[in-house]
Every structure is written in structure tokens, then in C-alpha cells.
């Protein structure tokens, strides 16, 4: 599908913007930015009382900034309830944002402000943005055949029909590692991994630029998880895709992402290239998260940093830095002032008053570990079996 053809007839009007958008504390965006978000907020009202009046709000996303460069994978991590899914959905206006700017840099059309689009324009823009969901069981309609599921985007956008549509479906199924004849079957006939492939085929149907992967592998078994991760990497190379990869498994995120953004109670607390973030975290929450990853290695048993208390509720967050009640390094200022997300190193943003002074521990590089730890089988694959009889 050609992009010019796709946007033909769309009047982008005021949404078209060449205006400079900045990130964090006034930093200009990199040139190849595909999606940039600034001050994005999504508050859900809490209703109470007899008249169901709004008595408060859950600040699921409360002013976050991030950008994704074309062709890269940005990981969005955090614990459940931190707002990462809401952030992903609000950024592309699946949820109507409460406040904030979102710039989508369409390669053909130039930069577009998503928050200004009319519903009609939005539908057209969405052909560029697709989603892959976590649960491969509930995200596919059990009463549609696989072919119909993958065909739906074309029918919605009235793009293909008849023979051409059938060919395209066969092609898409082949691309994700299924067979064309699977098109006539129903989702229940497929395993979890295969269903996730169907979901991926559906997401690829419109030749999107940006794919939002919301926990795409967390419902899968490890062996199948590896297959799907490899597939996502191959497709990214093949179709020049950009991923926003929302996940809570930090080992998977390290493997697949170029840059990682960490969220805590509706805020972005740190964003950096993956290597940098994992080896030199600059925000205490990131340090605690990294320390808590159960490392698949009995020679690297670690006592995690114990975070006291619980993740605060976004309906009733603490004062100052939201992390201060649990932070081992908290000072007086942390209780009063919320630290802004600021640039602390090239491409490295952190929201912490003491980012530069704290010497935080990251994950050691494998090459820095003792030799006996490096010798783990996953690093040195060989069956070492006696010769077959």
C-alpha cells in the first residue's frame, strides 16, 4: 500500500505542524524522531456519592515525555499499575489524552499533531500505527476465521477485496510463519504462540510505521517466547518497523530494545539507551528494579534491594518525588519537590535530585563476571553428549 495513496483526500489542516517540539527541559528532538510525546496526561475520573459526581481522579499518566526514533525499539517498563499501557494507548489517542502534545512524524506527510486530528483524520493516521496485545486468547475473535481476522483492516479501510485480498492474507500469514491454508481455521485451533503470530499478521496488514507491542510475549512459554521475539526482530528489519515495546520482563526488554524508558506511578523516571540504563542506572527505582530481576544463574544469587512498602496508588500519590517513601537514598528535598525529568548524560534522562551524585549499581556486563559464571551453558552451547549408539 502506497503512503501517498493512503493519505489521498485527507485534509490535515491545523494538525500539520512544522513547529519545533522539545523534550524534557527544552532539549530539541532528534531528527529522525517518529513519535514524540510531551507532557502527556491521562486522568480517569473517580465518581462517588449519590449523584455520581467526580470526586477525584486516578492520574494514570501524569505528564510524561518521550520520543521514539524511526526504526528503533523503545522499551516502556514498570510494575503493574504504573501506567505503561495507558501511556502507550494515550500516545496514539486510543484513549483521549487529558493534556499534552503528541507529534507523529509521517515520512510522507511530515509531522502531525495527533491531539488535533479529527476522528476521520485519526482513522487514516491509525493505518500507520498498529497494536499487538498481550493475551493471544482474548485479542482474537473466536467466531472469525483467521483469514477474516487478518482481512479486517483491509475491509475497514476499504483497501483490497477479492483475489488481491486473498493473496495479501496468504502473504501475511507466510511472513509471520504460518501457512496460507490456516486462513480458513478458527483461532481455537491454534496454540498460544501461533495465535500471537496471527495477531502480528493483523498488525502488519496495513504496512504500519509504528507498532505498539503491549506485553506481546508475557503470556507465552519460554520456548515460544523466543520464537516470537525472533520473529519481531526479523519483521522489524524486513519492514523497517518502529516498536514501542511495553513489558515488565526486564531480561526480554534488554534483549529486544534499543532504548528503555522506566515508569513509576504515572511518571517517566528514567530514559536511556539500553546498555547505559542497565549498566549505569541513575535513578534509585531503576536500580531496585534491576536488582530484583531473578537471574537465571545459581552462581549469581543476589539479595535484592528490599523496597519497603508498596507502590503508591495513582489516586493518592505521596508528596514530592513519588518514590521517596521507598527510596533508600531519600533526603529532605525529595519529600517536598518532585524532580523533573532532566538530561543527565547524552541521551540519558533521569528524574532524581541526586542523579549525578549517587553511584548506583546496574547489571554487570557478562564479560565482567568471574570466568566460572561466564561458563554457563547458555553462553557456551554444546550438548557434550557421548556419541550416539
Amino acid at each position: 500500500m502506497d503512503n501517498d495513496e493512503r493519505h489521498a483526500g485527507a485534509d490535515w489542516g491545523e494538525a500539520m505542524s512544522t513547529a519545533e517540539m522539545t523534550i524534557g527541559d527544552g532539549e530539541p528532538l532528534p531528527e529522525d524522531t517518529l513519535l514524540a510525546v510531551r507532557g502527556l496526561k491521562k486522568h480517569f475520573p473517580i465518581r462517588g456519592g449519590l449523584l455520581r459526581r467526580v470526586v477525584g481522579s486516578v492520574k494514570a499518566v501524569d505528564g510524561i515525555d518521550f520520543y521514539i526514533k524511526a526504526g528503533e525499539t523503545l522499551g516502556l517498563v514498570g510494575e503493574s499499575g504504573c501506567g505503561k499501557t495507558t501511556a502507550g494507548r494515550t500516545a496514539v489517542r486510543l484513549y483521549e489524552p487529558t493534556a499534552g502534545e503528541v507529534l507523529f512524524n509521517d515520512p510522507q506527510m511530515g509531522p502531525v499533531h495527533i491531539e488535533h486530528l479529527t476522528p476521520r483524520q485519526l482513522r487514516q493516521l491509525w493505518t500507520n500505527i498498529q497494536m499487538i496485545f498481550q493475551d493471544p486468547f482474548s485479542s482474537l475473535d473466536p467466531r472469525m476465521t483467521v483469514g477474516r481476522i487478518v482481512a479486517e483492516p483491509f475491509l475497514v479501510h476499504k483497501m483490497l477485496s477479492g483475489r488481491a485480498l486473498q493473496d495479501r492474507i496468504a502473504e501475511l500469514l507466510t511472513v509471520v510463519g504460518l501457512r496460507p491454508e490456516h486462513a480458513s481455521r478458527y483461532p481455537h485451533a491454534f496454540s498460544g504462540g501461533q495465535r500471537q503470530r496471527i495477531g502480528i499478521a493483523r498488525a502488519l496488514a496495513m504496512n504500519p510505521k509504528l507498532v505498539i507491542c503491549d506485553e506481546p510475549v508475557s503470556a507465552l512459554d519460554v520456548s515460544v517466547q523466543a520464537q516470537v521475539l525472533n520473529l519481531l526482530e526479523d519483521l522489524q528489519k524486513k519492514f523497517d518497523l518502529t516498536y514501542l515495546f511495553i513489558a515488565h520482563d526486564l531480561s526480554v526488554v534488554e534483549h529486544i530494545c534499543d532504548r528503555v524508558a522506566v515508569m513509576y506511578v504515572g511518571y517517566l523516571v528514567e530514559m536511556a539507551p539500553t546498555e547505559e540504563l542497565y549498566h549505569h542506572p541513575m535513578m534509585p527505582y531503576t536500580e531496585a528494579l534491576l536488582a530484583a530481576i531473578p537471574k537465571p544463574d545459581p552462581r549469581r544469587r543476589s539479595r535484592p534491594i528490599r523496597l519497603p512498602g508498596e507502590v503508591p496508588s495513582p489516586a493518592n500519590p505521596p508528596s514530592g518525588c513519588y518514590f521517596h517513601p521507598r527510596c533508600p537514598y531519600a533526603q529532605e528535598i525529595c519529600k517536598q519537590e518532585r524532580p523533573p525529568l532532566r538530561k543527565v548524560a547524552p541521551e540519558h534522562w533521569a528524574a532524581c535530585h541526586f542523579a549525578e551524585t549517587l553511584k548506583l549499581q546496574g547489571v554487570p556486563r557478562l564479560s565482567q563476571l568471574p570466568v566460572d559464571v561466564q561458563a554457563a551453558p547458555s553462553a557456551q552451547p554444546s550438548t557434550q553428549a557421548p556419541s550416539a549408539p
Binding site: E79, S80, S191, G192, G193, Q194, D221, V222, S223, V224, Q225, A226, Q227, L229, N230, E233, L250, S251, V252, E254, H255, I256, T274, Y278, L289, A291, A292, I293, P294, K295, P296, D297, P298, R299, R300, R301, S302, R303, P304, R306, L307, E310, V311, V363, P364, L366, L369, A375, A376, P377, S378, A379, P381, T383, Q384, A385, P386, S387, A388, P389
Partner: protein, 369 residues
């Protein structure tokens, strides 16, 4: 059946170790209207006293069913068709076969919750929403330990404090929905530990939790284990958690234990191609990124079908035609490490040279019956 004698071999090699539960050739079927599913096809494993045995495998491999079968809690239409489950409590070291007890009989009810207790993945479904947390904990105490309500309450508050609840007196009168996921799992653990069991069966206890909460819960389980001296059977699919928590590991595939060894050997000297593939398919922290992960081709077969020969052969990278697809491999012990066994034809040579340890009787069948 060629594979049956191997179970007793397993016993002979390990009979010297002190164990809490020894499962031998356990078979469980689910007879449904569309066919019979063989959930367990001869599981043999041993849970060492005071240690943690990790049971790992992909979904559908029978790891949860094994845990449920030990407590005779396999839900209908599941039936245990054969096997023995030897249990040795702290007090009486003579093993008893739990499968000889009536499912709902007094002996089994005495063991459940007192000598062997269990925690589940989703605490909300196992806590009763209409009773307070304290009520549910003291129920177990009242049943097994004391008839005094006041004393039971004190003990319940005590154990809530022990599992790290910030305000145990208040939590005692809270309902489950008032607690967060991590707190509920702590309440579940408190309930399970209230009678200081010999064995705790933990079925994916941290899978639904966030990493920081998970780390705290694992820490807590380790601490309490040392304090009480109980054994843990830790059922999980997360190899990271296994490496951090377990002393021994049993790897399961399609209702069989395909390899069991110390955690060190499983991670640094795995033998079964399935174990090796599993380890290679997980991303490793601190390594090069953007490299392809190794995959196990295909997926776990449909439980209604039965594969001839080794059940892993259609996916195995070391598949040997004519051998793997025709005969079920026997259990082979590693010559240099007597606790390490594997069920794979690659190691058939080793089996022929191996001397069977002598002087050890096939204990559980004899003593327990």
C-alpha cells in the same frame, strides 16, 4: 512397559538421602468426553528434607498436577491410575504411601494443611472473599493445633508479623480484597505456614507479582524455610526464579521428569536436550543484544495425542531416527554425580557401564504398605 523399572532404579540411587516426599511412577489421567488426556506418565521425583526442589517445564507438562496429586487434590475428571507417594513426616520417619489414604478420609485431612500445605499462583482465588484474612488463618490453627480461639488469634497475628505484614493486628481483620497482590500472597504464605508444615508446595507463587514484590516474597520464603526447616516444592516456569531459589531441579516434559539434578548441574552441566534448549531460549542479562535467541522448534504437542518413543523427539535438535521415535528412553544416572539423572537415548552408553548402587532396598513399597 519398558519405562516402568526405571522408577525403582531412581529409588535405589537416592535412597540414602533424607527425603520428605518421594513420588514414584505417578500416573494421572483426565477422562473427558472428547478423549483421555495423560497428564502424568510415570513421574518419579524426590523432595529432599529441608531443601527446595524446583519443578520446571512449559505449560501443560504436568508440574501443577504433580503438586496437586501429592495432596490428592487432582480435580475430577482427573484420576491417579498408578504410582506411590511416600511421605515421611518429621515425627515418624517411616514412609507412608499417601495414595493409600481415602481422598477425603481423616488421615489425608490431617496431613493437608498441617504436614503438607500448598500456595497457589493467584491468591485471590484461593482466599475466601467473605471471611477476614485472620479468620482464614486461625481456621487452620484451630483445626490442627489448638481449640482455644484466643490462642489461635494470637498465633495468626504472630505468623502475619513473621511474613512481614506491616500492621498484623489490622490485617487480621481485613478482607482479602483490601490487600494488594503482594500482601495477599503474604497472607497465603502465612496461612500455609501457620502449622509449620514439613513440606510446602508452592505452585507458581510469584508469577502474578511484579519483580520487586517477587524478590521480597522469595526472600521471605527462604528465610522462613531456614527458620522452620521445611522443604519446598517450587513449581514454576521461570528459570530465573529456579536459579535463585532451588537446591535441586526436576525438569518436566509432557508428564515425565526428563532430568533431575542439583541446581548447579542443571544450569552449568545440563544433559537433556530439552533442558539445554530451554536454557538457551531465555535472554541472558548482560549479554549482547539483538542476537537471535535459540528456539525449540514447534510447540508442546496437543495433550490428546500420544507420541511414540521419546515425547521430545519431534522437537529435539539431537534427534536420532530409528531410536528416539521408537523406544522410550530409560533413566540414566551420570557416573560422576549420582544424584543427576536424565531420560535420553544420547546417554544409553553410560547406562551400560554403570554399576547399580548396592545394599539399598526398594524402601517405600516395603515399609509403607
Amino acid at each position: 512397559m519398558a519405562s516402568v523399572p526405571t522408577a525403582s532404579q531412581a529409588l535405589q540411587s537416592q535412597a540414602t538421602a533424607d527425603y520428605v516426599v518421594r513420588v514414584e511412577d505417578l500416573r494421572v489421567e483426565f477422562r473427558t468426553s472428547i478423549g483421555v488426556t495423560y497428564a502424568l506418565n510415570g513421574v518419579s521425583l524426590e523432595i529432599p528434607r529441608g531443601k527446595t526442589l524446583g519443578v520446571v517445564g512449559e505449560s501443560g507438562c504436568g508440574k501443577s498436577v504433580t503438586g496437586l496429586a501429592i495432596l490428592q487434590l487432582v480435580p475430577p475428571p482427573g484420576v491417579v491410575t498408578s504410582g506411590t507417594i511416600g511421605f515421611r513426616s518429621r515425627e515418624s520417619r517411616t514412609p507412608v504411601n499417601l495414595l493409600e489414604y481415602e481422598r477425603m478420609g481423616p488421615e489425608m485431612r490431617h496431613i493437608r494443611g498441617k504436614s503438607i500445605s500448598m500456595i497457589f499462583q493467584e491468591p485471590m482465588t484461593s482466599l475466601n472473599p467473605v471471611y477476614t484474612v485472620g479468620n482464614q488463618i486461625s481456621e487452620a490453627v484451630l483445626l490442627h493445633q489448638t481449640g482455644e480461639h484466643k490462642e489461635a488469634k494470637e498465633r495468626a497475628i504472630d505468623i502475619l508479623r513473621k511474613v512481614g505484614m506491616p500492621n498484623p493486628e489490622r490485617i487480621y481483620s481485613n478482607y482479602p480484597h483490601e490487600l494488594s497482590g503482594g500482601m495477599r500472597q503474604r497472607a497465603m504464605i502465612a496461612m500455609a505456614l501457620s502449622c509449620t508444615p514439613d513440606l510446602l508446595i508452592a505452585d507458581e507463587p510469584t508469577t502474578a507479582l511484579d519483580v520487586t514484590t517477587e524478590a521480597n516474597i522469595l526472600d521471605l520464603m527462604r528465610e522462613l524455610q531456614q527458620e522452620i526447616g521445611m522443604s519446598i516444592m517450587f513449581v514454576t516456569h521461570n528459570l530465573g526464579v529456579v536459579a535463585q531459589m532451588c537446591d535441586e531441579v526436576a525438569v518436566m516434559y509432557l508428564g515425565r521428569v526428563v532430568e533431575q539434578a542439583s541446581v548447579e548441574e542443571i544450569f552449568y552441566d545440563p544433559k537433556h536436550p530439552y533442558t539445554i534448549s530451554l536454557l538457551k531460549s531465555i535472554p541472558r542479562l548482560g549479554t549482547n543484544r539483538k542476537e537471535h535467541l535459540e528456539v525449540i522448534r514447534g510447540s508442546v504437542p496437543d495433550p490428546y495425542s500420544r507420541v511414540t518413543g521419546c515425547p521430545f523427539h519431534p522437537r529435539c535438535p539431537s534427534f536420532m531416527p530409528g531410536i528416539c521415535d521408537t523406544t522410550m528412553p530409560n533413566v540414566v544416572y551420570m557416573p560422576d554425580s549420582p544424584q543427576h539423572f536424565v531420560r535420553c537415548h544420547l546417554y544409553n552408553d553410560l547406562a551400560n557401564h554403570q554399576a547399580v548402587p548396592s545394599g539399598v532396598s526398594n524402601s517405600i513399597g516395603g515399609n509403607g504398605q
